[in-house]
């Protein structure tokens, strides 16, 4: 097991290096560079810098160096100093912009993932063990509705309902008076009053799909001979179902943890924009629209790293969970 984890972790290193290089190339792809954009910005404000000044600045920022040298400077700054570069649009270091948002995104997304599982696994198991029962049909209808309604629409409806009928101040994560207040019990309560809408929105969409996956997996597993063996041992129905087929049917859930992590950060952008959440999604969208190279590049890099780490985590979890993978 330890050898397995070590091997997987070592394999992740070259992947990460390759991905960071690709991310950097993508940053460099748009025509022009930081100085061109800066000069255009100055011209826009009625000021002017000469070609010679531009060239001097390029030399100063090292923009004339070969791509590989620039890459090395960029990546070593990130790895050694945690310096992700400078955002043109926000006029601030990238790292000061992203970490707060990453933390909030991680919190919201993890919570919604947990909610999704708490809903999807029991409902999926119930639907499979009581196939074609009334409740199974009810869950199926709700599942397809949940999958069919776009998240942002559900978000808008919930916003409207809670604003008009419940008189709650809902957009964002905090009420204005708590926006920059230090953490306190009142602030946490305020957060809980706001966070349920994004959680509900994100969990319904995810759970609707996962219920179907869980139901299908369970139906496959329930027909297998080892389930009959378990019954023939005298175990009770609930004990058989939860300790045998559910264990096997959870495998696809575990292997999707890897995709869940990056999806948590880039996904649900529209929902986040609609709900005015201070997460990473809207910031990434804006950075791409404004060609804010270092900000966008840093996001791409962070997302890629999360993809690799997520895959690594789900590989390890899967091996821990399923002996057939561990010893293969």
């Amino acid at each position: 097991m330890i050898a397995f984890i070590l091997r997987r972790a070592l394999l992740a290193i070259p992947t990460l290096i390759f991905i960071s290089f690709i991310a950097f190339v993508i940053i460099q792809l748009p025509p022009g560079d930081y100085i061109t954009a800066y000069a255009a910005e100055l011209r826009h404000q009625g000021e002017y810098i000469t070609e010679a000044q531009e060239a001097a600045m390029r030399a100063q920022y090292g923009l004339n160096d070969p791509l590989v040298v620039q890459y090395w400077r960029w990546i070593s700054n990130i790895v050694l100093h945690g310096d992700f570069g400078y955002s043109l649009q926000w006029n601030a270091p990238v790292s000061s912009l992203i970490w707060d948002r990453l933390a909030i995104t991680l919190a919201i997304s993890t919570l919604s993932l947990v909610f999704t599982w708490i809903i999807a696994i029991p409902v999926g198991v119930y639907s499979a063990t009581r196939q074609y029962s009334v409740l199974d049909y009810v869950f199926t209808v709700f599942g397809f509705l949940g999958k069919g309604i776009p998240d942002f629409l559900l978000a808008l409806i919930l916003l409207w309902i809670s604003f008009v009928y419940l008189n709650l101040n809902v957009g964002g994560l905090f009420s204005p008076q708590f926006q920059s207040a230090p953490w306190s019990v009142a602030k946490v309560i305020d957060l809980l009053q706001h966070i349920w809408i994004p959680l509900v929105v994100l969990a319904t969409g995810g759970a609707a799909g996962l219920i179907r996956v869980m139901r299908a997996n369970m139906l496959d597993e329930l027909g297998k001979p080892y389930v009959e063996t378990a019954y023939a041992q005298g175990l009770s129905e609930s004990r058989v179902v939860w300790s045998y087929p559910v264990r096997v049917a959870l495998n696809p859930f575990i292997s999707t943890v890897g995709w869940a992590l990056p999806a948590l950060f880039s996904g649900d952008i529209i929902t986040a924009v609609v709900l005015n959440l201070p997460t990473t999604g809207p910031l990434l969208l804006q950075a791409l629209k404004m060609q804010d190279m270092y900000l966008a590049g840093s996001f791409i890099l962070v997302l890629s790293v999360f993809t690799v780490i997520g895959t690594l985590i789900s590989d390890i979890l899967l091996a821990w969970f399923d002996p057939r993978i561990r010893y293969a």
Binding site: T229, A230, Y231, A232, Q233, G234, E237, V248, D322
Partner: protein, 339 residues
Amino acid sequence: MPAERLLELDDVQVHFPMREGLVKAVNGVSYHVNKGEVLGIVGESGSGKSITARSIMRLLPKKAVEPGGRISFRPRTGEEYELSSLSRNSRAIRQVRGNHIGMIFQEPMTALSPVHTIGMQIMRTVQLHKKLGKAAARERAIDLLAKVQLPRPRELVDAYPHQLSGGMRQRAMIALAISCDPSLLIADEPTTALDVTTEAQILDLLKSLQSELGMAIIFITHNFGVVADIADRVSVMYLGKIVETATVDDIFYAPKHPYTQALLRSIPRLGVDQGRRLPTIPGMVPDPFSVPPGCSFNPRCSHAIAGLCDVKTPPEKRFGNQMSRCHIADQFVQEPAHV
């Protein structure tokens, strides 16, 4: 039930309502098993032999209906169970399963949980029925693995099914089934998926375990050779009914049902009738939605009498310990069939 009786089935019926019609998979099966005896049940696929066994275990598919029949069971411990009245998930049947009746299945490859160790699966059963602690259950699991002659039981107790060969898995399956000293072991085609060498080893193992533990076995198979090897008595099933029951010698040397005779004739034998075509039973097994009236074997039977066999269902005719469901069974008493 007589004192020596362990299990008695009386007119057991299992039907499956389907869109195409009613399938009478088990249509009035009666047999009994005495303490410590091996009953072989022979029949082709779809004859209802496995469904009957599942009816004893109350593990029928959920869409099955049981319009009638009684199953009585009295394990060595003495209490009496009316199995046919127990529901699938009742507490009483859960005390019987795995504890008084062990079951071995056909597919050793898939009949054990792929994500639990062999030892874990045995320990669960032992802990459940014998109320043993974890360490004691583990010791018992190791003993059981040794008893089914698995090599290195102390290591294999922590092995997963996919690390074992087919024969080893079936041994582990047997260890699981006998883990609580059952009075009855139901073996549902336990050697069908194995090669003949392994099959012979598993049969030897079952025979030695049977004499050592004194348990009775219901051995379900479609292979007469296997039955000859292990069974004391044999019941032959055709289309949901038992057509003949007799001691293993009578089945082979004095069969009194044309179906049994035809099955025995179609077994290839070394050195006999070389160069001749092997006799086969004419026709096909009728589809389960249109079972022929009268004796269900009559369209394929060379002795069938028009106006009798295709009209009247034959009664159970008894000749000592032998039972045959054939109108003309008496005829085979005077002139034993040449098989």
